[in-house]
Subunit: 330 residues, 2 copies
DNA sequence: CAGAGATTTCGAACCGGTTCGATTATGGAG
DNA sequence: CTCCATAATCGAACCGGTTCGAAATCTCTG
């Protein structure tokens, strides 16, 4: 494999001249620049990433910390990941993916060893054990998901409180006065999925204020259980005419349940990604969770901080994207 | 951030002694070793990855090349990825994820710059443009998916031919004499998804030999279209009593279609992952595609080649895991 | 044509590890 | 007490880039 020394020798210049010719950080005579470029091309020169990282303290790699349990229905995960990796590549960065059962250790390793210039954390829990590590790291960090303590990192998330209110408002506006909210399964909450109760509490509060009855329950994340659960629920609450679904599995299961029972009067509002809605042809209005957009925002802000000392000095942001209702396909 | 020089100074030894004490590659007196270890601990020393890579020409990072189009229903993707990253971590490697619309360029960059010690390629197409690059790379490569030309890399895949035969045999054994095979959408085939026609051609051949009529069609990968398509298909082939599904979206959609039509006599065999079967509570027998296991196998073989010169000299393997029928949940 | 000033190039140091060969300290045998 | 083998340690070189300061070359002016 050719080194910059080989390129320099082939072009008849010193290593430093070759380096400057390639980087353009100093002016180099037209002839020398051309010879260096030709030599690099001819030798198939690619700079050694380790050596460059050592010299510049920049790796052009972002860490991506994601927690995904096999056997859990998490259709949004690939979209988050794709949003992050695609944006990173656009900005010239590669992505080191850490799927972490081992938690903080791996994070500390990749930051302290300087493998990455910054870290995006997905699936942030309310009391996330990796956040202290991330705050202590020399690199900047960006989160997708709102933790209890936002200090020291940039945070991006859907405004789940607003989502809860928007969803209640919608069904209230359609005249419904008794509603059911199906949230994520309880273990998601126990694991620190704050977005679940942010949406739920805001929805309950809004319902109370509007004088609407709202039954909030945990759903299931698997198919047969999800269907049974919905059926039982509709039986138990015959007066409920509106359904709020903050649970992908429930949303995917609902059409077959309602079809089987002929519950055509039921009004439904969901909360999931546009892609999910399309894949499962869901006929409901929904609040779009825009996972790819959130991943993109996190990366852009992260790279801004990495590349500009000025940006690094700016105060940390907490950006909640507004929850907007998307109409069902007609 | 502490360097090995700081550790050495704190322990009162030279840098080389500190290095040997930490790596154990030469014997070091008990006292010195202890002082070095304590100093490293106290200073929170973590070796700089770039420097180590430069010195050892080993990065302890694997490249993971995956192609996933947002908006395509590819539920197995996360399982492949998880199989790879989890196994890599077990073996001491991190994973650089490259989701590549830009194809060969990114691969060449990460291999030539020595960012990775080896590469796992998912979603291999029959005539994959990245394979020549991978073969030319100085690092070993492993594929999940069978390409037209297997030279220069280790290959792991499900035995899709056997899967086709097993599926036909099953329905033939149940007494069915006219079958329909729903494959992946045509664009998957056009993109070089050889596994589609490997399964289909083997199934057609087996059906011919058994004297069974088999109608092979391309399916849809999206929900509303998949359902309509299945309905139309069953109408068009009223004599068909058995269904082979090599298409996740079709499998997920089928229960609601058959329920709506009361087609209880229909026998179905699928081809998808166990996780998929469970998530959607599919009541069919199926050939398990074991994405996580394939990812794991690819990584293990890759790391073997990376770490042992002996293994590197071994001939390349093409390992097709047997297609076995899993019974439906009772 | 000398000299100032700008342009181009080079050599050396540095980033932070690893590793080889040599040197020093230690202990045992003669 | 000396000599030698062995164990422990050190210094220096190297991996492959980048970058700084100085030297060399060229250009233009007086």
């Amino acid at each position: 494999m050719a080194t910059i020394g080989d390129v320099a020798a082939a072009a008849g210049v010193s290593r430093s001249t070759a380096s400057y010719a390639l980087s353009g950080k100093r002016s180099i005579s037209e002839g020398a620049r051309r010879r260096v470029l030709e030599a690099a091309e001819a030798l198939g020169y690619t700079p050694n990433a380790g050596a460059r990282a050592l010299a510049t303290s920049q790796t052009m790699v972002l860490g991506l910390l994601a927690r995904f349990h096999a056997g859990e229905f998490a259709p949004a995960m690939t979209q988050y990941i794709l949003g992050v990796t695609d944006t990173a590549r656009d900005l010239g960065y590669d992505t080191l993916l850490v799927t972490e059962p081992d938690g903080a250790g791996a994070l500390r390793r990749i930051t302290d060893s300087r493998m990455v210039d910054g870290v995006v954390r997905l699936n942030v829990a309310h009391d996330d054990l990796r956040l202290p590590v991330l705050r202590a790291a020399p690199q900047p960090g960006a989160l997708v998901g709102l933790p209890g303590d936002c200090s020291g990192v940039d945070v991006f998330d859907l405004d789940f409180e607003q989502a809860g209110r928007v969803m209640v408002d919608r069904l209230h506006g359609l005249g419904h006065r008794e509603l059911i909210l199906v949230s994520q399964p309880e273990h998601v909450v126990e694991r620190g999925g704050a977005y679940v109760w942010r949406l739920r509490d805001a929805a309950l509060e809004r319902a109370r204020r509007l004088g609407v009855r709202l039954h909030a329950v945990y759903g299931e994340s698997r198919r047969p259980a999800a269907e049974r659960m919905l059926g039982a629920l509709l039986d138990a609450r015959p007066g409920a005419t509106g359904l709020l679904l903050d649970n992908e599995a429930a949303a995917a299961a609902l059409p077959s349940v309602t079809r089987a029972r002929g519950l055509e009067g039921l009004s439904v509002v969901g909360r999931y990604s546009a892609e999910f809605a399309e894949t499962f042809a869901l006929p409901y209005a929904y609040v779009e969770s825009a996972p790819d957009r959130l991943g993109e925002m996190a990366v852009r802000q992260l790279v801004r901080r990495i590349e500009s000392a000025r940006a690094r000095a700016e105060p940390f942001v907490v950006r909640l994207v507004p929850a907007e209702l998307t109409s069902p396909p007609s």
